[in-house]
Every structure is written in structure tokens, then in C-alpha cells.
Amino acid sequence: MTTQAVPPDMASDQPALAHHFDDLAQQRAAASFGMWLFLASEIMFFGGLFTIYAVYRNLNPEVFGHESRHLDIVLGTVNTAVLLTSSLSVAMAVHAAHHNRRKALLLLLGATVALGSAFLVIKGIEYSHKLDDGLFPPTAATHPAEPVVQGSKLFYGLYFAMTGVHALHMAIGIGVMLWLMLLAARAPHVRARATPIENAGLYWHLVDVIWIFLFPLLYLIDRNG
């Protein structure tokens, strides 16, 4: 008895049905469920970092607020806008895949890759400024003109850890999107590949949601007064 999937019919615009599923609807549901379980684990992964942040910010509220002002709010806002736009392009790409529109799919996936890359470039610019200020590695972690105080190392350590891990997830996401573009270019019918495209899209949206929380928590702690 073979454990391989039934080979796909090249004329079909549906994916192959794996033998352990009753029908394609169940196969799709299982794929989606599995992806969401992974996303839940990612929420816990980043959640650990957010928990550390919550504790140390609670213990050092003024210092966190003060150091937060040294982050570039313009670049941070631009990056947030870039990611939100990339989520739009991913959602539209999934839509194109379901409607079997190869060219639109490739364009939208390409736009997503471009936007994600722009995010990383802007992040890199921000990091280079921090390096110039002597803030990385966060050993003498405050600006040279200011004395090191309790909590400033914590803030910058958290800043680099949280945005760094997030940037790593972005890079992986960009790699996945590039792989999807290859898939989209080669598949006889892109509709048959809608499931992996949709699930990769879910990953991308989650990375966007994480940034939606990172941005105010790191950049906007105390910008008034």
C-alpha cells in the first residue's frame, strides 16, 4: 500500500487529495487548522518577550519612557505603514490565487516581497543609527552624553531582542514569499496552490500583528510633555 498522494491531474485546477483525507474540503480545513496551531505557538513565542517587557517596564517606567524617545518615530511609523500595506498585498495575492489569476498573484507576491524588504532596509538604517550612538551591543546602553541608569540597558536589550527576532521572522517570511512566487510561476493552475499561499499569508499577517503591538510599546511610550 502506497503512502504517496494520488499524483495530481495536470489538467485539474484542484490540488491532489492526500489519501488520509476524505475530501478536499477536509484537507483544506486541516491545513488551515495546523497553520493556526503554529501561529498560536508563535504568539506564545513573542508573548514571552512581551512578558519580559511588561515586567521590566513596570519596574522602570520613567527610564523606559525616556529611552523610548530616542527611537526614530518617523522611521517607526513608516515601517508600520509599510507592513500594513504588505498585509493588504498578501490578502489580495491570496484572493488572486483563489481566482486562478497568475499574473496578479505574481505581481502581488512581488509587491509583498518589495514591501517586506523595504521594512528590513529601514530597520537596518535604524540599527545603524543605534550602532553610531554606541547602543549595540547594549553594554554601555545609553547615549554617550547621558549617564547609564538602571533600566536603560534593559530597554535597549529588549528593543534589539524584540525587533531583531521580529526582523528574523520578516526575513523568513520574505523567503517564503519568494518560494511562493516560484510556485506560482510553475504551477499549471495557481488555484491548485491556493492553500500554501493562504497559509503563508497567515504567517505574514501574524508577523504584521506582532509589529502592530511592538510599535507603540517601544516607540510611543512617552512622547508627550
Binding site: 487548522f33 496551531l37 498560536a40 504568539i43 505603514a81 493588504l88 489580495m92 484572493h95 499577517h205 508627550n224
Partner: protein, 97 residues
């Protein structure tokens, strides 16, 4: 097709809402709300996240199992954050010992 999600017009409208909320996030940061600045920023962030999850991630259009799984992830996160903060935020309640 239900699985294909909503029409593009829904995506555009959600995106417009997200852009407005982003402007709100940044704008509110410069207004002195005292202790409520953080709560306001997080509330707006939650609203954005809910929009992305419901519409971009199709939770609104999909099976209940998916909504349950997403909610479960949030419940576990709430347990971790909640219990940890319960510990740290009450450390000085017992007074000097």
C-alpha cells in the same frame, strides 16, 4: 467561494481603517493622557490586530474551529502575561518584612 474570503473592496476598506488607526496611534502619543496613554495606545493596537485577524486572516469567514484556535492562543498568552504580572505587581504589597 467562501474559502476565497471576502471581495477586494472589503480589504481596501479594512486597509483604510488601519491607516486611520495608525494615524490615531501616533497622534494620541503626543497628547498628554497621563496614565491612560498606554491603555489608549494598546486599545488602538488591539483594534488594528482584530481587523487584521478577522478580515485579512479570514477568521470572520472561516470555520469556528479556526476562531477557537486563534482565541486559544490569546487565552494562553493572557495566562502567561496575567499570572506573571500578578506576581511582579504585588511584590511590595506585603510591606517591609
Amino acid at each position: 467561494m467562501d474559502e476565497a474570503g471576502p471581495s477586494p473592496s472589503v480589504y481596501y476598506r479594512v486597509f483604510a481603517a488601519l491607516a486611520v488607526l495608525l494615524a490615531l496611534t501616533v497622534g494620541l502619543a503626543f497628547v498628554d493622557l497621563g496614565r491612560f496613554n498606554t491603555a489608549a495606545a494598546l486599545s488602538v493596537a488591539w483594534l488594528k490586530a482584530v481587523l487584521v485577524v478577522l478580515y485579512f486572516m479570514h477568521v470572520r469567514y472561516g470555520k469556528r474551529l479556526i476562531a477557537l484556535t486563534a482565541a486559544a492562543g490569546l487565552v494562553w498568552l493572557a495566562i502567561m502575561l496575567g499570572l506573571t504580572l500578578c506576581d511582579y505587581m504585588t511584590r511590595d504589597w506585603l510591606g517591609p518584612r
